[in-house]
């Protein structure tokens, strides 16, 4: 009988009885790497701390508008409240104004609820109808009935018709149909006017920079430039007042016009004394009353001024303006041209430049009365801005609306950010 080579003892020896005194490979490296990473991390932080660079704490890139703030976290993140907290409104308002949406709103969100930073957005504004409809789908106020529709769920659900006036409040007698007709007679022949001959985007025609380079802020092109006599009317409707004069009367108050006429005719008769005294025209009919004749320069001026004013007040001015007698000179009703029709929404003509004017302003070419409102209704917008359609122009609230009521904007004087 042969004896066993491996005894139990021998076998037991194969086990390191001290194994627990030394870490195994993985745990050892885990511990080692944890230590290294922590040290490196701390070192990285210390390195940045020594370099005074806080950018490593940023949650994401800043919007372009805030890019200049760089790594000055404290500009917005109030140290006392801790960086984890949402930036307080006071921090925003130290540089920006954010006028209240409505004096009667039941709740006011914090700036950062809508304006989310560190998302790398082009602008801070976060669109999304929910921001608006959370209130406007079931609108309540702090007192009184809402002035706008109370259940707007979206552009296609609950949005009311535009709040346009029933009549154009303008007091200038204007006939679009006549002005747009074929072969309109202009001062030097027949013309065909187009919408843009009078309705020019603001900014077009602004004086060019004398240096030749484009500089300075350009006026907004969203709205049309205001209609003025000098800009739109004067070229075809000169204020001629006497065949002897090549000048035209100023487009000003009747009193100013009167003084202008007196000055012009006084100068004229001084230069032409041979016109005095006036002699009667040959009588052609019996019982004919003679027109008054001027014996002196003063009488001549009075008669000519009276003639010119008759022509101006009863023809030239009256053609466009409403005049009422007011002593010796008439009173001219203010033009009262409406500068902006859509009071709640913003409309940008430049964004719609590829669309013909008549496509939306369908009634303009046939309009004969000043009182006609020629602004299209919501149905016209919906021809392109139609939610649910495959190829639709935008239908978000923010396409047209702004939250802040910028008519109540205040000047922001102090900035704690030294730039």
């Amino acid at each position: 009988m042969s004896s066993r080579i491996r005894t139990t003892k021998q076998l037991a020896r194969r086990i390191n009885k001290e194994y627990f005194k030394k870490l195994a490979f993985i745990p050892r490296w885990r511990r080692l790497l944890s230590l290294i990473v922590t040290v490196l991390g701390l070192g990285w932080l210390v390195w940045y701390a020594f370099a005074r660079d806080a950018s490593i704490y940023s949650a994401g890139p800043l919007t372009k508008a805030h890019a200049s703030l760089g790594s000055q976290c404290g500009s917005c993140h109030n140290q006392e409240k801790g960086i984890a907290r949402m930036v307080a409104d006071t921090q925003c308002l130290s540089c920006h104004d954010g006028p209240v949406h409505s004096a009667r709103q039941v709740s006011t969100p914090a700036c950062a609820e809508c304006h989310v930073e560190h998302q790398g957005l082009e602008t801070l504004m976060v669109s999304g109808d929910r921001m608006c409809t959370s209130c406007h789908s079931d609108l309540h106020t702090t007192g009184g009935a809402p002035k706008v529709a109370a259940a707007i769920h979206s552009w296609s659900n609950g949005h009311p018709e535009f709040d346009l006036p029933k009549q154009d409040p303008g007091q200038i007698k204007f006939n679009h149909k006549v002005h747009l007709k074929k072969d309109l007679r202009g001062l030097s022949g027949l013309v065909q006017l187009r919408c843009r001959d009078c309705h020019r985007p603001a900014g077009i025609g602004a004086p060019a920079d004398p240096s030749g380079s484009v500089s300075g802020p350009r006026p907004s092109r969203a709205y049309m430039a205001p209609i003025t006599y000098a800009g739109q009317c004067a070229s075809c409707h000169p204020l001629e007042f006497d065949p002897r004069m090549t000048e035209v009367a100023p487009h000003k108050d009747p009193q100013v016009v009167h003084e202008f006429l007196v000055a012009k005719f006084s100068a004229y008769i001084q230069a032409h004394p041979e016109l005095l005294p006036e002699s009667a025209r040959a009588q052609r009919i019996v019982r004919q009353t003679q027109d008054p004749l001027a014996g002196s320069a003063r009488e001549w001026v009075l008669l000519r001024v009276a003639d010119s004013e008759r022509l101006l007040w009863t023809k030239t001015c009256l053609q466009c303006h409403r005049l009422t007698p007011d002593g010796a000179l008439p009173r001219v009703a203010p033009a009262n041209l409406n500068a902006r029709w859509l009071k709640h929404g913003n409309f940008d003509h430049s964004a719609h430049a590829s669309v013909d004017c008549e496509r939306c302003h369908t009634a303009a070419a046939g309009s004969e009365r000043t009182s006609d409102v020629l602004i299209p209704g919501a149905a016209v917008c919906r021809e392109c801005h139609a939610s649910g359609r495959a190829a639709s122009a935008g239908t978000e609230c923010t396409e047209c609306h702004e939250y802040h009521d910028w008519t109540k904007e205040k000047d922001v004087r102090h900035s704690k950010v030294g730039l």
């Binding site: 007698k173 006549v178 007709k181 074929k182 072969d183 309109l184 007679r185 202009g186 001062l187 027949l190 075809c236 409707h237 000169p238 001629e240 007042f241 006497d242 065949p243 040959a282 009588q283 052609r284 009919i285 019996v286 019982r287 004919q288 003639d307 008759r310 022509l311 009863t314 023809k315 030239t316 009256l318 053609q319 004969e368 009365r369």
Partner: protein, 423 residues
């Protein structure tokens, strides 16, 4: 029945067949249209028509006079508000009903564009277009004022009256002037706001003859209308047969002359629309003169007889009007030779006594006609003594300055002296 006719109120505006509605004078006066400050030479029309009308033409002030002192006083006498009454506004404004206005316009702008040119709504738009012809407008409601007959009819609608427009003895008593007219003189006095398209060198004399013919016809029609409704209508009689200051019998030229054609005490017909025309016709259209004479003589006798039967007057006047219409229609095409002007002056002045004797209104016509014919003649062939003739005609005007002091003898004498100045 007659009473019923009298009670039917006259429409506010004469029924006119012209299609279209009225746009108001403001539609025409743009500087680029008809409201320029000076006449233009690059267009068929002057384009300062509105300015001429506004500044020089009394028609533009026709509504304004309703509110002057005489107008107000007339309103008190007649028991009407002249600025509101259609009796006045039919001639003193563009008085059209609301439903014929394309936009509401001020009626106070006088006798304006559409009063004479017709309602513009149908032609206002297209009439500025390239290739437009005047005739197209006529189809669309524009009145033909280039046609001398049409022009005279437009003027006489107010300057003599028609079915809906009249100046009767009551209005004259209240202060309205007696109506009178002579197309060429009145056109010149207006003054014209157009350039004459007709290149006829005697266009003024032709217009004068047409005006005389049309006003005679319209006068006869008016007598016929009045005689059917209300007679005697004193406005048809010679005003100054009665309205003159009375002098001692020995100084009365009327009594010295006697009343050869009528019973003493009967006021005579105001024949001013015939006596001068008759002489003109004698030169231009002898046959017409002869045809008219008999009918007119009958009207003259009947109207000048205060006891005449109105039905007979109406019939005689209507009959004479038919002849007058035929004669008037011959006038636009009548032959006028180079010497017609001086010939007419000779003929008219040769009839000094009969014209001057027909009354102050006839003398008035003679003065205006002589002046018009002289100016046209002198334009055609200037004479050396034109200034002398001018002065003599001006003196003729002076003799009718005060109508109730009118005396036929010196007037006839002055007419003869004008005739003597003309070769």
């Amino acid at each position: 029945m007659v009473l019923a006719c009298l009670l039917v109120p006259a429409p506010a505006f004469p029924a006119d067949a012209a299609p279209g509605n009225y746009t108001g004078p403001g539609s025409c006066g743009s500087t680029s249209c008809h409201g320029g400050i000076r006449p233009r030479s690059d267009n068929a029309v002057l384009q300062n028509e509105f300015t001429t009308w506004t500044l020089q033409d009394k028609h533009a002030r026709a509504t304004g006079v309703l509110n002057n002192d005489v107008g107000k006083r007339m309103g008190v006498i007649l028991g009407i508000d002249p600025s509101q009454s259609s009796k006045c506004l039919v001639c003193h404004s563009l008085n059209v009903p609301e439903d014929r206005q394309t936009r509401s316009f001020d009626k106070g702008e006088g006798v304006s564009c559409e009063s004479c040119h017709g309602p513009a709504s149908n032609w206002l738009g297209p009439h500025t277009q390239r290739g437009w012809q005047y005739e197209k407008g006529l189809e669309l409601g524009m009145k033909n004022t280039r046609n001398l007959m049409g022009r005279a009819e437009v003027c006489l609608g107010c300057h003599l009256g028609d079915d809906n427009r009249s100046v009767d003895h009551e209005m004259i008593a209240a202060g309205h002037p007696d109506l009178y007219f002579e197309l060429d003189s009145f056109t010149a006095a207006m003054p014209p706001h157009w350039k004459e398209t007709d290149k006829d060198p005697w266009i003024d004399v032709r217009a004068l003859a047409v005006g005389q013919g049309v006003q005679l016809r319209e006068n006869l029609l008016r007598i016929s209308r009045e005689a059917k409704h209300f007679w005697p209508e004193y406005a048809e009689l010679d005003c100054f047969a009665c309205h003159h200051s009375l002098t001692a019998a020995k100084d009365s030229w009327r009594q010295a002359r006697g009343y050869p054609d009528r019973r003493a005490g009967n006021p005579p017909w105001n024949s001013s629309r015939y006596v001068v025309f008759r002489v003109i016709l004698g030169q231009l259209d002898r046959d017409s003169a002869a045809r008219l004479d008999a009918g007119i003589k009958q009207v003259d006798e009947l109207v000048s007889d205060i006891r005449a039967d109105p039905a007979k007057i109406a019939q005689a006047a209507a009959q004479a009007a038919t002849t007058a219409d035929e004669v008037a229609k011959r006038m636009p095409g009548i032959q006028l030779d180079g010497s017609v002007g001086w010939r007419l002056i000779k003929a008219i002045t040769a009839n000094s006594d009969s014209i001057a004797g027909a009354g102050e209104r006839s003398a008035e016509q003679a003065a205006m006609v002589l002046d018009s014919v002289f100016l046209a003649s002198n334009r055609a062939a200037k004479v050396a003594n034109s200034q002398q003739i001018s002065r003599a005609i001006a003196a003729l005007f002076q003799l009718v300055e005060n109508p109730s002091a009118y005396n036929p003898a010196p007037f006839a004498q002055q007419m003869r002296s004008i005739g003597a100045l003309v070769q």
